[in-house]
């Protein structure tokens, strides 16, 4: 594993602290504003619970991403990169692009040179959204607010269109990507296979579990299910995916059994 320097850990700690301070600050501001406009703060309290539960499962791949990237960049840089702005897929592509460019101009590069180039490319290319917010977002948001005042119906149509577009784009990419990799798995980050069959099964399982939650909610009048429906759905669909992975990858069984054996062998020594 590549060396991580103390100063990078210090920056990482500062970044994590800054994010927590900023988030708490915005929560406090939102609660004060809610009270001022006469909004029931119970709604926001419920939002805190829902959002915390929802965010646990999708955060796990981010941790795994650090595990994959730390082999090349050490532990501190992936930690920072995946705590701010970045997203796993983007960071890996940026790292790969920087590595290939370096290889083409300096074939005998050192691991420090690779990290220096990779972290520069990763940092600079992700700044587009942040710079937009600093320069133009205030004006843009004021225009959106004006439109909301003058023509609420049009603004509703715009937000509906953006949500529909995001869902359509994401769903079509998942569906078509899944169908085109049936029988010929694509390679995914970390050298594992991404099976089209499992993508489609997971998507179907997610739809079915959410529909069942809706049914329980409506037919059996279990209103509490509403708050946990999406986390339950994500966990259930991932459990289905996990069950199918060994069926499609016999090599995975051997490796995961090895890993579990290793894990159990070290557990007594660390007192877990």
């Amino acid at each position: 594993m590549a060396e991580s320097y103390t100063i990078i850990y210090v920056i990482g700690a500062l970044v994590a602290a800054a994010i927590i301070v900023m988030s708490v600050f915005f929560i406090v501001k939102a609660f004060r504003r809610a009270k001022l406009i006469g909004m029931d703060t119970k709604v926001l309290k419920k939002t805190i619970k829902n959002s915390a539960i929802f965010s646990i499962v999708p955060s796990i791949p981010i941790v795994i991403g650090i595990g994959i990237m730390m082999q090349y960049l050490g532990i501190a840089i992936p930690w920072i990169r995946l705590t701010v702005i970045g997203a796993l897929q983007y960071e890996l592509i940026a790292m790969d692009t920087a590595g290939k460019a370096l290889e083409s101009v300096a074939p005998n590069y050192t691991s420090q040179m690779l990290i220096a180039n990779a972290v520069t490319v990763m940092t600079l290319s992700i700044l587009g959204g942040l710079i937009f917010n600093l320069i133009a977002y205030k004006k843009y948001q004021t225009k959106l607010a004006d439109l909301q005042k003058k023509n609420a119906k049009l603004m509703d149509a715009i937000t509906g269109a953006l949500l529909s577009g995001m869902l359509s784009g994401m769903l079509s990419a998942i569906l078509v990507g899944g169908i085109f990799t049936v029988g010929k798995p694509a390679s995914y980050t970390g050298g594992i296979n991404n099976y089209g069959e499992i993508v489609l099964i997971t998507l179907a399982a997610s739809v079915v579990i959410m529909a069942l939650c809706g049914l329980v909610m409506i037919v059996f009048k279990q209103k509490w299910v509403e708050n946990y429906a999406l986390p339950i759905t994500i966990l259930g669909a991932l459990a289905v995916a996990y069950a199918f992975v060994p069926l499609f990858d016999s090599r995975y069984i051997v490796e995961s059994q090895k890993a579990i054996k290793l894990l159990w062998a070290v557990v007594p020594f660390v007192g877990v």
Binding site: I20, N50, A101, I126, Q141, A157, G169, M210, L263
Partner: protein
Amino acid sequence: MTKDKNKTQTREQYNLQMHNYGRIFSWISMALILFVPVAYFIASKTVPSVKALVKCIPFLLGYFAVGLVEAVSYAPLLGPGGQYMSFITGNISNLKLPCSINSQAIAKVKQGSEEQELVSTVSIAVSSITTTIIIVIGLIPLFIFQEQIVTILNPISPYVIPAIFGGLTVVLAAKYYKTAAIPFISCIIICVGANLAGFGKVFDQSTMVIVGMIVSGLSTFILYKKNKI
């Protein structure tokens, strides 16, 4: 004095305050982010290869443009507080936005209302805290059992997005089926065409989200003009 001001604060004044705070946090974050490579150069006594960096310019510009497009298109969905936080903490389409949409659906807030903005802000803030804490907690076992953890959990990583978006579609389909039908069919056609032409990797999830938003914007505008929505 400030308390009195806050008591009579309009939505515009509140949003202005959010912009000011959001910008301060954005500047702090940008300074910290930009300091990471500089700190690495100093600590490792290494400088990056300028020739290799020049070769990465097309990639840099491409991703920079994607960031700009994302900021413009996500803004109406996130609200001021949510927008600043999301573009500081990242993982928007796979975590922050679905989390905010889910919270808005549960809270049953009206589109474009101030309540919607507040729910979105709180949702994204809590999501950011949760992820930051999970990452910090995850670093410890990762440091000790890196290989084993990655081996056990990595096989399900490609399936997290389908697991989120299948359920989310059920939640939103009933509400947005009118505006979603045309972009969905168009996106399927574009995706199939791209895969058949061998450009499947280019038209991945992040590209298709932008394509979907553009198609949906156009088709919804036509439907709006014809009074069909």
